[in-house]
Subunit: 313 residues, 2 copies
């Protein structure tokens, strides 16, 4: 009986690996270094070898293993082809096919952010739901769209690139993607800090944030929780921009739940309450009661999602 699955979340420095039961219990996790020399040609053999070694060590009959899911930090097409992955030195290669040959087991490849979303749906903040929009608020704004339990990778691997929805045509600063006015420029940790710096410069209002050398999103939410007026204004501004964007996303795919993760999500209830308040203001009536939840798997979301991806391949 097929009862075990592996997940491998390839990052720029390390590959996180996990062994799960088909029911979603994490039995073991470990890491190996990501060897980027030789244009990343060693990475997949290393992953395959590490999984095979663990199978041997644990006496796992290959007949009992469903396969392995692999997350990569780049765009992935439906057929498992990675469309260039600068961080790893990869060009266009069919990772799914290569990994299956190396491993002798079925493999499913996906974008790492999408895999993390799938993990949160399976065993995290979105557990019990099958249509989930995951929003990761970190240095940037990442997203993952899951419809009926399946990731939406997108025809160019850009499914869930919600950080690059244009939310302000009048923006003068450029986003990392080259456009101007992207959601990421306001919704991310960096964006929150940027809005706070602007708010501080635009008024003489007293604020705890004036005592901080380099304002961060954490400073802003901490000050807001202490009722700092200017910080509260920035939190409202952030919630309005993000909540409105999520209302637009709901008009496209109408998920059951939005799961909010990434560093900014540590702000907890204040973040969720503010974003969901504005979401309901802008949402189409049928989707007004869509749930909001915090992500809860942290850095393990990726390996969970990889495991779920191969289970539902």
């Amino acid at each position: 009986m097929k009862q075990y699955v592996f997940g491998a979340d390839i990052g720029g420095t390390t590959v996180k690996l996990g062994l799960f039961t088909a029911e979603g219990e994490l039995l073991d996790k470990w890491e190996i270094p990501t060897r980027k020399e030789e244009s990343g040609a060693l990475i997949l053999p290393d992953v395959a070898e590490s999984i095979q070694a663990r199978m041997k060590e644990k006496n796992l009959d290959p007949e009992t293993v469903v396969g392995a899911g692999i997350g990569v930090p780049g765009p992935v097409r439906e057929d498992g082809t990675v469309n260039g992955c600068v961080n790893l030195g990869w060009g266009v290669i069919n990772v799914e096919k290569q990994a299956e040959e190396l491993l002798g087991l079925p493999v499913k490849v996906g974008n790492d952010a999408n895999m993390a979303s799938l993990g949160e749906m399976w065993q995290g903040g979105g557990k019990g739901f099958s249509s989930v929009v995951m929003v990761t608020l970190g240095t940037g704004v990442g997203g993952g769209i899951i419809i009926n339990g399946k990731m939406v990778s997108g025809s160019n691997g850009a499914g869930g690139e919600i950080g690059h929805i244009c939310v302000d045509e009048t923006e003068t600063e450029t986003c990392g993607c080259g456009n101007r006015g992207c959601l990421e420029q306001y919704g991310s940790a960096t964006g929150i800090a940027r809005m706070a710096v602007k708010a501080l410069a635009a008024s003489d209002k007293a604020s705890k944030l004036r005592d901080v050398e380099t304002v961060t999103a954490k400073n802003v939410f901490d000050a807001a929780k202490e009722q700092d007026e200017l910080a509260l204004e920035v939190v409202e501004q952030h919630g309005r921009i993000l909540g409105k964007a999520l209302a637009g996303i709901a008009c496209v795919c109408d998920p059951e739940v939005f799961v909010i993760g990434g560093g900014v999500s540590k702000a907890g209830d204040l973040l969720i309450d503010t974003v969901s308040k504005y979401y309901r203001q802008f949402a189409f009536h049928a989707s007004r009661e869509t749930k909001f939840a915090l992500a809860c798997l942290g850095n393990d979301a990726g390996i969970y999602g990889c495991a779920e991806a191969i289970l539902t391949k």
Copy 2:
């Protein structure tokens, strides 16, 4: 061998029916009246009877029929439950289950706009693609999202309700949905006429549109094709708002193609060229080359989509 499928597109006045081969050839189409008395209780029996009569007339062995797809003018849940359908007098009923019992064949139920999108993907403007965003520009702005050949119905039946993405928070007029600043208020035929009336009032510029008693979207595009400056400005304004919204949608589901239908799509190349120009300006780089196509099945899109829906159930 299963080789035939039926499609039934239920409208407020008539039910359009079609008999297709599994390859997508329309063999026969006909209509029956939609009897709305008795809270619409006669509609499904009428549809089933009409399909059975046609099978008898054509000597079709039920063994050769895959089933029937049914489109309804209201929100439909994944399990085939219609979540209230005011036009037909229906409350919350599981149409799929009822129709299967009446017909003795597998049935797939979907929202009519989504069904039309599926039809355009199968045999219309999106033929050859499996990830399609259909945009219907009529009295309102409708949408249909198809990912890997499957409709995205949405957890509240609001998948593809792209007409209600908020595109202008400063709007003072109310949309039919109760919100303000919905894409529908600018992108639809009604929206184009409204923008033209506003543009006429806001300037003294000479325009052919001043000679028209009640300006329509058709007047605007016709005048623009004759290089009427004010009409061209409205076409640009429309293309900018719609193109930008579609760029946001591509950041969610990254389709292969946008298929534009509805009455406004009769404007043809001028519409497609303007919308796609602004789309490319606002799109995330990976999705910048997404294709645009005109819908081409007209009022038959619904029955085509119903047939495809049961084929891929």
